[in-house]
C-alpha cells in the first residue's frame, strides 16, 4: 500500500471501508466482495505504476469500467486491487475523414455517438446500458445492442486498441486501418473480460446515420408464429436494423412501466426497425408488413416519426427495470440459440418455470438468437436465490443442448463458470488457459474469471455430461 501511495496521488486511491462499497460488485449484485483497495488512475503512466507495484508484490488486478457488467467480470478479490479506468474518459479525436473516433477506455458508449453527431456519424453498438457503460468494458465484453443484427457487435466496430499487458508492455493494435499484420490480437482481446490486457485507448468505426427510420410493432397470439415471422423476414433477404421479441410477461411489465402502447393481451410482440433511404424503406416496409400479417400478426403499428419510435423502443429498452418493478428481484440470463429452436426452448423454459415455481419474462434479440430470460424471485425468501441460480443454470444448459451458447453478450465472469464446463471439454479449457498464459503468465490479471478450472469442472463432472461422455475422461480422479 505504501508503494501504491507513492505511485498515485491520494485522490486516486480508495482504501477505506465505506469508499470501497460501490466497488463490491458490478451489475450482478448478488455476488459481492470488498476489494483490498481501489486505484483510479488518470493517466497511462499511473496505470503502469499500479501494475508495476502489483507485479512486484504478486497482487492481483481486477480491471473495471463503469461496473454495469452482468456476469461479475469486475467482481473484486479481497486481497486484490480494483483498477478502475472510469477517470480516463477523454474523447481524444473525432476524425470524420477517416470515419473513426479515438477515445480513452472510460468514455461512455453513448458519449461517442453524441460527440460524432455533428458530423452526421454515430457509433453503432448500442447496449441498453449505453448511457452508463464504458467503451473499455464494451471491448472487454464484446457487447452487443439492439442494432447489432445489421451493424455488428463491438468486435466488428472496433478498429484499434492501445493495450497494456500485465508485464507493463504496451501494444498498439490496429488503428484507423482495415487490416493488421500477424495474428489478429484485437479479435481475441474483444470479449476477453479483462483477463488478457488492459484497454487504454480504443479506435472505433463511426457510421453515417441512416436518413430514414421506421419502427414496426406486431402482436401475435402465439410465440411460435412470432418466431416464424422473424425467419420469414430474414428469408426474404431483409436484414432489419433491429428485431426484438418480448413475451407476454415482459410486455405487461414494460407496458405498466413505460406506457409504450404495447398490446397487453399478446402472447408475444415483435419490434422491428428498418432504416435506409425513403424509397427503400417504403418497399421494405411493405414486404415486412405483408410477411407479418401472413404470419399471423393480429395487430401491426408503424411508427414513422421520431417520438412514436422512441416510445415503442422505450418499452423494450426499459424492460429490465420494468421487470424489476413487478418482482422484488430478477435474474437476467443470456443464452444464444439457433433461432429455429425458439418455440421449443420457450416451452422448455415454461416447464422449468413450473418446476421451480418461479416466473420468467423473456426478452429476445430475435434477429440474432440472443435470449434474455429474466427469472423473477425474492431474495428475502430463504433458498429462493439458490433455486433461481440453479434454474438459470439449467436454462443455459438447455441453450447449449439445442446448439447454442451460455452467453451471447454478457460474458462468463464468475456467474457462468459452471455452465462453461458443459459447453467446453477439458482439452478446450486447457487451450484457453494456455492462451491466457501467453498474455499473462503469472495469472495476475482478473484471475478466477471467465474460464473454469479443470478441478472445478471435475467436481461438477457427475452432473454435467457432454455428448454422452464424461467431460474429462483423462483426468485421474475419474
Amino acid at each position: 500500500m505504501r508503494a501504491l501511495k507513492k505511485a498515485l496521488p491520494a485522490s486516486c486511491l480508495i482504501t477505506d471501508g465505506p469508499g470501497l462499497r460501490p466497488y463490491e460488485c458490478d451489475g450482478l449484485t448478488a455476488i459481492r466482495e470488498a476489494p483490498w483497495l481501489v486505484a483510479l488512475p488518470e493517466t497511462e503512466a499511473q496505470v503502469a505504476a499500479v501494475l508495476a507495484v502489483c507485479r512486484e508484490h504478486g497482487v492481483s488486478v481486477v480491471p473495471r469500467g463503469a461496473g454495469t457488467g452482468l456476469s461479475g467480470g469486475a467482481r473484486p478479490h479481497a486481497d486484490g486491487v480494483v483498477l478502475g479506468l472510469s477517470r480516463m474518459n477523454r474523447i481524444l479525436e473525432i476524425d470524420p475523414a477517416n470515419g473513426i473516433a479515438r477515445v480513452e477506455p472510460g468514455v461512455r458508449n453513448l458519449a461517442i455517438s453524441e460527440a460524432a453527431a455533428e458530423f452526421g456519424l454515430y457509433y453503432a453498438p448500442d447496449p441498453s446500458s449505453q448511457i452508463a457503460c464504458s467503451i473499455g468494458g464494451n471491448v472487454a465484453e464484446n457487447s452487443g445492442g439492439v442494432h447489432c443484427l445489421k451493424y455488428g457487435l463491438t468486435v466488428h466496430n472496433v478498429l484499434g486498441a492501445r493495450v497494456m499487458l500485465m508485464n507493463g508492455e504496451v501494444l498498439e493494435l490496429g488503428g484507423p486501418l482495415y487490416d493488421t499484420p500477424g495474428l489478429d490480437l484485437l479479435a481475441v482481446l474483444c470479449g476477453s473480460e479483462g483477463m488478457l490486457g488492459l484497454v487504454l485507448e480504443v479506435t472505433v468505426a463511426l457510421l453515417p446515420k441512416p436518413p430514414e427510420v421506421a419502427v414496426l410493432l406486431a402482436a401475435f397470439a402465439d410465440v411460435g408464429a412470432a418466431g416464424q415471422a422473424v425467419a420469414d423476414i430474414i428469408g426474404a433477404g431483409i436484414i432489419p436494423a433491429g428485431m426484438e421479441m418480448m413475451d407476454r410477461l415482459a410486455v405487461q411489465a414494460a407496458e405498466a412501466f413505460a406506457k409504450a402502447g404495447y398490446p397487453e393481451d399478446a402472447a408475444a410482440i415483435l419490434l422491428i426497425e428498418l432504416d435506409g433511404s425513403e424509397t427503400e424503406l417504403a418497399r421494405q416496409g411493405a414486404v415486412v408488413e405483408r410477411l407479418l400479417s401472413e404470419g399471423g400478426a393480429y395487430q401491426i403499428d408503424v411508427a414513422r416519426d421520431a417520438d412514436a419510435q422512441a416510445r415503442l423502443w422505450k418499452g423494450r429498452k426499459s424492460a429490465f427495470p420494468a421487470v424489476g418493478r413487478i418482482a422484488p428481484d430478477y435474474y437476467c440470463m443470456d443464452g444464444t440459440i439457433p433461432r429455429h429452436r425458439l418455440a421449443e426452448v420457450l416451452t422448455e423454459i415454461d416447464s422449468l418455470s413450473e418446476e421451480y415455481g418461479l416466473q420468467v419474462a423473456n426478452v429476445f434479440h430475435a434477429g440474432d438468437g440472443n435470449l434474455h430470460p429474466l427469472i423473477l424471485f425474492d431474495a428475502n425468501k430463504p433458498g429462493e436465490l439458490e433455486r433461481t441460480e440453479e434454474m438459470g443454470g439449467r436454462i443455459l444448459e438447455l441453450c447449449v443442448a439445442v446448439g447454442g451458447t451460455v452467453t451471447g453478450e454478457h460474458g462468463v465472469g464468475v456467474e457462468k463458470l459452471n455452465q462453461m464446463c458443459v459447453q467446453f471439454n477439458g482439452a478446450e479449457l486447457s487451450q484457453f488457459f494456455r492462451l491466457k498464459s501467453a498474455w499473462d503468465p503469472d495469472e495476475l490479471l482478473n484471475p478466477g474469471k471467465g474460464i473454469p478450472t479443470l478441478t472445478r469442472c471435475g467436481e461438477l463432472g457427475g452432473m454435467h455430461v457432454r455428448h454422452g461422455e464424461l467431460p474429462f475422461p483423462d483426468l485421474e480422479r475419474f
Binding site: A97, L171, Y178, D179, G235, G237, S277, R283, E428
Partner: protein, 353 residues
Amino acid sequence: MSQDSSERLTAAVRDAVADGRRLTVAGAGSKRNILPGTSGDMLTTMEHAGIVSYDPAELVITARAGTPIKALQAELALHNQRLACDPPQFLGQGTVGGMVAAGLSGPGRPWTGAVRDAVLGVVMVNGLGEQLTFGGQVMKNVAGYDVSRLMAGSFGALGVLLEVSLRVAPVWEDDVTIAFDLSAAKALDRCAAWRQHYLPLQGSWWHGGRFHVRLGGSAASVAAAMHQLGGERVDFPWDHVRDHALDFFKPLSASGDHGDKTLWRLVVPPAAPMVEAYDDMAVMWAGGLRWWWHDDEEAIQTHVKAMGGWAWAMERAPRLPAAERALMRRIKASFDPAGLFGSALPIEVDHAD
C-alpha cells in the same frame, strides 16, 4: 465431393507429433505464390470437403475446410445469399479453410467486413493433436476467448482447421459500377466526403486516373446513390480486382513495365495523403489499401510509417513491433508447443524495429 476426413487429418497430426515431423497445412495451394515459403510435410485438407449444415434463415453456413469456395458460393446463391465478406478466391480455386487461414480481404473490406468478422466458429486440431471446438453456429457468442476469429489470418500456424461456420448475408438486389476520371487525391477527397453519407458502397478501385466505385444493395438505394454520385455507369470485373487477376498485378503488362520492382501492399488510414505514383499505384478500400510497384524497401517502410500504416510485399513477411511479435510467438506456442506447424505467419523473422 462431400467427405469427412477429420479423423484422418487428426491422426496425421498425432503421427507427426509422435515422429517429431513438421507439417505445413494447405488447402488447394492457391496462395502459394503470394506467401513466403514454409518447411515441413504438406498436409492438405482438400479432400475434407462438403457443407455440414446450412439454414438460410439462420444466416449461418458450416462447411468442412476443404470445401472449394466456389461450391460454397454456389450453394449460397441457390438461396439468394452470399458470403458476408469479400476474400480473394483466386478464381474459385481456393478452399474455405484456406480462405479463413489467410484472412485476406478483397475490395469490399471497409463495407462488408473482413473474413474474421464473418467467422462464427471452428473445429480445429491443435499442435497436440487435440480436436477442439470453439465458437459455434450462432451470431452472438462470448463464451471463452474468441479463438475462432484468431484462426482467421493465422496462416495455419495454430493448427489445422477442420470445419468453419460463417455468417452469410442476402445478395444485393442490384450491383452497379460507376466510374469517374479523377486524380487519386481527388478520388480520396470524394471518399472522405462520402464517409459521412449513408450510401450502398461495396467496393472501390482507383488506377491510372480512373476511379471505379461499386454500389450494391436494394434497387432503391442503388438507384438513389447513382443519382446522388453521378459518374458513368460501366461494367467492371471486381472479381479480377479481388483475385489479383487484373493486369496491374502482373510484373510485365499492358499497364506498364514494372521491371525489377516489387508489388507492395500498403495499409494506411484511408484519408492519409496520396502520393502521385501514376501507373505504379492502385488504390482500394476508399484509400485504406494502396498497391505500389516499388524497388526500394526502406523508402516504402519510411513512407508507410509516417502515414501510420504498415506494408507487406508479396512473398515477404511484414514487420511487426517486437512486443507484438513476442506475444504472437507465445500464442503460437500455446497452440503448438512443439512448433509442429510451419507457416507463413510473420512471427519468426526478427526486424530491428
